[in-house]
Amino acid sequence: MSQTTHAGTHEHHDDHDHGPPKGIKRWLFTTNHKDIGTMYLVFALIMLFVGGAMSLVIRAELFQPGMQFVHPDFFNQMTTMHALIMVFGMIMPAFVGFANWMIPMMIGAPDMALPRLNNWSFWILPFASLLLLSTLFMPGGAPASGWTMYPPLVLQTGDAFPFLIFSVHLLGMSSILGAINIIVTIMNMRAPGMTLLKMPMFCWTWLITAYLLIAVMPVLAGGVTMLLTDQYFGTSFFQIAGGGDPVLFQHIFWFFGHPEVYIIILPAFGIISQILPTFSRKPLFGYESMVYAVAAIAFLSFIVWAHHMFTVGMPLAGQLFFMMSTMLIAIPTGVKIFNWTATMWRGSISFETPMLFSVAFLFLFTIGGFSGLMLAIVPADFQYHDSYFVVAHFHYVLVPGALFGAIAGAYYWLPKWTGHMYDETLGKVHFWLSAIFVNITFFPQHFVGLAGMPRRIPDYATQFADFNMISSIGAFGFGFSQLLFVYVIIKCVKGGQKATDQVWDNPEGLEWTVPSPAPYHTFDTAPVVK
């Protein structure tokens, strides 16, 4: 793809690099894409544990039948907040962090195109998240209507209600600003010779993700604003007493919600597409068809939303349409899986930690894809819908899918960020613990779901006891294994074997042509890409 002339980057930065200011001001006022990327990533890591702690409250209560620890309403607050935090506070910021750090270095740009906007879009996040978390201490508790915020139930939220809406507005605004920045950067700041079809896959997946964000975040903002006016200003968008319809909200929500699924997974696709070629020592198979597959997935994601709501009672024609369009997504997604496999085929594969997480991603994301295909079949979906089968499905695509993609990316670029190699042994231990526990946690949920256990219940019939206990054990194992991840990161930041510029065995991409750690300013003079 891209080979670069080395001149300019290496020698040049020494006399130009003035380094960051010291202290808190560096982080508050920074416009540097690397600093902002770091803040996004650290923030996401913290939120991983906040959201994770909530999931452990859920799994502790579900360890045995009977109510042992929390009241049902608090349980619902936990499921709701866990989802909101993990989606808007953890996984999305994590990938924006990767975008900030890597996209300018990958396309040979000195920084993001809109650095001040970049600072703002990050600093909205902690405040929006704190606003959301503060609802836990309000009269009536945190929102408990599920992250889907379906009316009329969401209108029964206590004092937390307007804070929920406002924090969703803020989190959405932060995402939109980040997306604008990424699009402008990729469109305008590419180094000479870096044509769109020479860009690394990670840039492509993020470019398309950014367009998805701009298209659907305003839809969510509009939907929740309608909730707000229904609650306080006498409108009746979703209130039947005034001629409204609660199902309308579901259409609005999922018109946002399904592209949102791809907003979460596409950057992970990009990271995997960077890592597999490096450790297979072979170029990415079918680069152009990968780009078109991502574009096709993004397009299809706009016309499948009602598959989340087959049970609301749609006309037959509507059900058939959404069944077919949903199954079509399997085709470009299949192309990606096959191309990744072909990338490894006849390669020369080694198993460093980023590769291990990527291989696990390939296997386990595919399992999530299979259950997704099953869920698309409407008659069968009538059984699967809102059961633990669905919980298993989306956790397979989100945890060993999106989250493993992010973890793989962290290990892959940590040496470039810190200048040190991470502890490979500990990394591998972290991988095996995560890969084993994630399956112990989520695989049994397929079984209880098929056997008839609804999702979002704080207590269950005794027939589901055994698999729930296994699932809870897995969840605690997975949660505590992530502490090891934090330890490996801290250890790597503090020291370790000095990383070379290339870090890995002849990887492709401009980021490997700059020193490790990457200097504060890179590519002040644009590299020439042949």
């Binding site: 069944m323 191309n339 609804p454």
Partner: protein
């Protein structure tokens, strides 16, 4: 006085016969890993469709995971594998675009007739209106002047309190039992009309392969035809607030003659208990 008669009648004709049927049903097995086959023509076909797509996924999975595993084992750097330099093959890409396309179109083709059948509510012999409440169900036999509420059974309700000290394993059908079940005749096409009085709920009975949302301001409809007498249990499947997990569904299917007799008795109970029941129904209306 009428209320005492009502209770007695209720005992004699409603609770006891149904309790006999309920007791004959073993509790659901633990370690169940698959969807129940169920007891309606639709549930059987749904199960078969589910197994079909499952096996399609298994076959694709074996091929794809097999290829991945082969690559991971065979082309290892540590074994001195030398990487090939190719990164493109139009033939391969056409093959793995076309084959999945054929598979998904075929799967949609297979699923469509069943979906059409599910949506065809014509020719129903009995209509039951089901209304969701926070947190109970109301059943009304349209045209038969019988309606009642169905709430979580007392034993389960006591055991499910926070730190109740009651072991759920000692409670029969924990969380899946109600004070008064929906009674339906076997081998009869039953249409249900589904709505809600407050928030969204969903009426789910796995053995019937029926799950549909109860939505305020809307009336959803569907149907089922139970072939085997018995007691079938399900739960609310749409988050509806704090006691979402505590509003189960129990359906008892009895032979049509027994159902007719039950319906008549139940109507008498309702009239005998009018003085007692009236305020409760009035509060709902």
């Amino acid at each position: 006085m009428p209320s005492r008669i009502a209770k007695l009648l209720h005992r004699l004709f409603v609770v006891l016969p149904l309790a006999g049927i309920a007791a004959a049903q073993a509790e659901a097995p633990r370690w169940q890993v698959n969807m129940p086959v169920g007891v309606t023509p639709i549930s059987r076909e749904t199960y078969e469709l589910h197994m079909l797509i499952l096996w399609v996924c298994v076959v694709i999975g074996v091929i794809v995971f097999g290829a991945m595993t082969y690559a991971l084992v065979k082309f290892r750097h540590s074994k001195g594998a030398v990487p090939a330099r190719w990164s493109h093959s139009t033939t391969a890409e056409v093959i793995w675009t076309v084959i999945p396309t054929i598979i998904v179109v075929w799967m949609a083709y297979v699923a469509t007739p069943l979906l059409i059948k599910i949506e065809d509510t014509r020719g129903a012999e009995l209509t039951v209106k089901i209304t969701g409440y926070q947190w109970m169900w109301e059943y009304e036999y349209i045209g038969h002047d019988v309606r009642f509420f169905s709430v979580l059974a007392e034993e389960s309700n006591a055991a499910r309190r926070l730190r109740s000290g009651i072991d759920p394993f000692t409670v029969e059908n924990y969380l899946l039992d109600v004070d008064e079940p929906l009674v339906v005749p076997t081998n009869t096409k039953i249409r249900y009309l589904l709505t809600s009085n407050d928030v969204l709920h969903a009426w789910w009975v796995p053995d019937f392969a029926v799950k549909r949302d109860a939505i305020p301001g809307r009336i959803n409809e569907g149907w089922f035809l139970v072939e085997e007498p018995g007691t079938y249990r399900g739960q609310c499947a749409e988050l509806c607030g704090k006691d979402h997990g505590f509003m189960p569904i129990v359906v008892v299917a009895v032979p049509p003659e027994q159902f007719t007799a039950w319906l008549d008795e139940r109507r008498d109970v309702q009239y005998a208990g009018r003085e007692e029941q009236a305020p409760r129904l009035g509060a709902v209306n």
